[in-house]
């Protein structure tokens, strides 16, 4: 039975990645996080339907437990992909700086040239745009404010804080 569950997991994950790539080709970059949430919800629904159809009938309690374990594993796969691959490509400052330098080839890049078109203004404007799209902040009469809700981005801060305490380093905030 584990082979069947793992096969289902890999198939659903592959479909998730393919759906993400196909959809993201058609949307603007600022709406990435919003659409990512939709795709994750839809892929969880798809996973559930496939699980019910494909995994053979076993004792009800075992079926529920195996469903919950495989759903948890699937979502952890998705989270690992988003943070490790997608996040790196879409929003990592370090990767962007590295790309700017690598694309200059043998000419190299000075810090002044880099800051001319990739600087704190460009970085902040992009983040503000994304946060408005996700509904975490809003703009009113030229001022920005937080929306009254918990932001998923702040979940990362909690993890950083826990690790920072454990390893006695600062998390940089």
């Amino acid at each position: 039975m584990e082979a069947l569950i793992l096969s289902l997991l890999f198939v659903c994950f592959t479909l998730f990645v393919m759906a993400q790539i196909i959809i993201f080709r058609k949307i603007e970059q600022a709406r990435v996080v919003v659409w990512l949430k939709y795709i994750i919800v839809l892929s969880n629904i798809g996973f559930t339907l496939l699980f019910v159809l494909i995994i053979p009938y076993i004792l009800p309690r075992l079926r529920i437990i195996s469903y919950l374990i495989s759903l948890m594993t699937f979502n952890l796969f998705v989270v690992a992909y988003i943070l490790g691959v997608f996040g790196m490509v879409v929003s990592s400052l370090r990767i962007r700086i590295l790309s700017e330098i690598a694309h200059r080839g043998e000419r190299g890049l000075s810090i002044d040239n880099l800051l001319r078109h990739y600087n704190k203004e460009a970085i902040i404007k992009e983040r503000v745009r994304r946060l408005i799209q996700t509904g975490d902040i809003f703009c009113e009469k030229g001022t920005y404010r937080l929306n009254n809700r918990f932001s998923l981005f702040l979940f990362h801060k909690i993890v950083f804080d826990v690790l920072g305490t454990l390893y006695k380093t600062g998390a940089g905030y």
């Binding site: 584990e2 569950i5 793992l6 790539i21 993201f24 309690r61 075992l62 374990i69 594993t73 952890l76 796969f77 989270v79 690992a80 490790g84 490509v89 879409v90 929003s91 400052l93 370090r94 990767i95 962007r96 700086i97 590295l98 790309s99 330098i101 200059r104 043998e106 190299g108 890049l109 000075s110 810090i111 880099l114 600087n119 704190k120 970085i123 902040i124 983040r127 503000v128 994304r130 946060l131 902040i137 001022t143 920005y144 404010r145 937080l146 932001s151 981005f153 702040l154 990362h156 801060k157 950083f160 690790l163 920072g164 454990l166 390893y167 006695k168 380093t169 998390a171 940089g172 905030y173």
Partner: protein, 172 residues
């Protein structure tokens, strides 16, 4: 179920071991990177536990002994991968601009665009990361100009390939 619980417990044990190793080598960045070897070693040990030790245990309750050894190992791998990503963030001390922006708004409640720009510096976003790229060997600096090393170029090749799949030109 025992495979899942063992996976979580063993991962936490591995993190504890890594933490002790980290305190011994924290002043040497290359040794800190090498300390990550704890996780692949932990993977081999856990795989042995999953495929050899646990099947020999006797349990009466069928849901506790549901045979999921591969799932347990996969979970350990995912936890380790996620840990490395977050650990990288705290070790390098680089604040995420998004989180920093949200915390600033949490503290000050209302901000104009100009006030947001004034709260941050190019050094905190760009300078520190450039230094880290140089220290980690992704980039070389010669006479005030930066050049990507072979390692850096390989990473950018993968990133460009993925961005082309998405039809995007740049990230960050």
């Amino acid at each position: 179920m025992i495979y899942i619980v063992s996976s979580v417990v063993f991962f936490l044990i591995t993190v504890s071991v890594h933490r002790e190793v980290f305190f011994l080598v924290r002043n040497n960045p290359k040794s800190v990177v090498r300390s990550m070897i704890v996780f692949p070693v932990g993977l081999f040990i856990f795989a042995f536990i999953s495929f050899v030790v646990i099947p020999r245990l006797q349990f009466n309750n069928p849901w506790w002994i549901m045979p999921l050894p591969f799932t347990g190992v996969i979970l350990y791998l995912i936890f380790s991968f996620l840990f490395v990503i977050y650990f990288n963030g705290i070790y390098l001390g680089e604040a995420s601009p998004t989180i920093a922006l949200l915390l600033l708004l949490q503290k000050r409640h209302v901000l104009r665009e100009k006030e947001i720009f004034e709260a941050f510096s190019d050094e905190s976003f760009i300078g520190s990361r450039l230094q880290n790229l140089t220290d980690s060997g992704m980039v070389n600096k010669k006479r005030n100009r930066f050049y990507a090393t072979l390692q850096g170029q390989r990473i950018v090749s993968f990133v460009d390939f993925y961005r082309n799949l998405l039809g995007w030109h740049e990230g960050g």
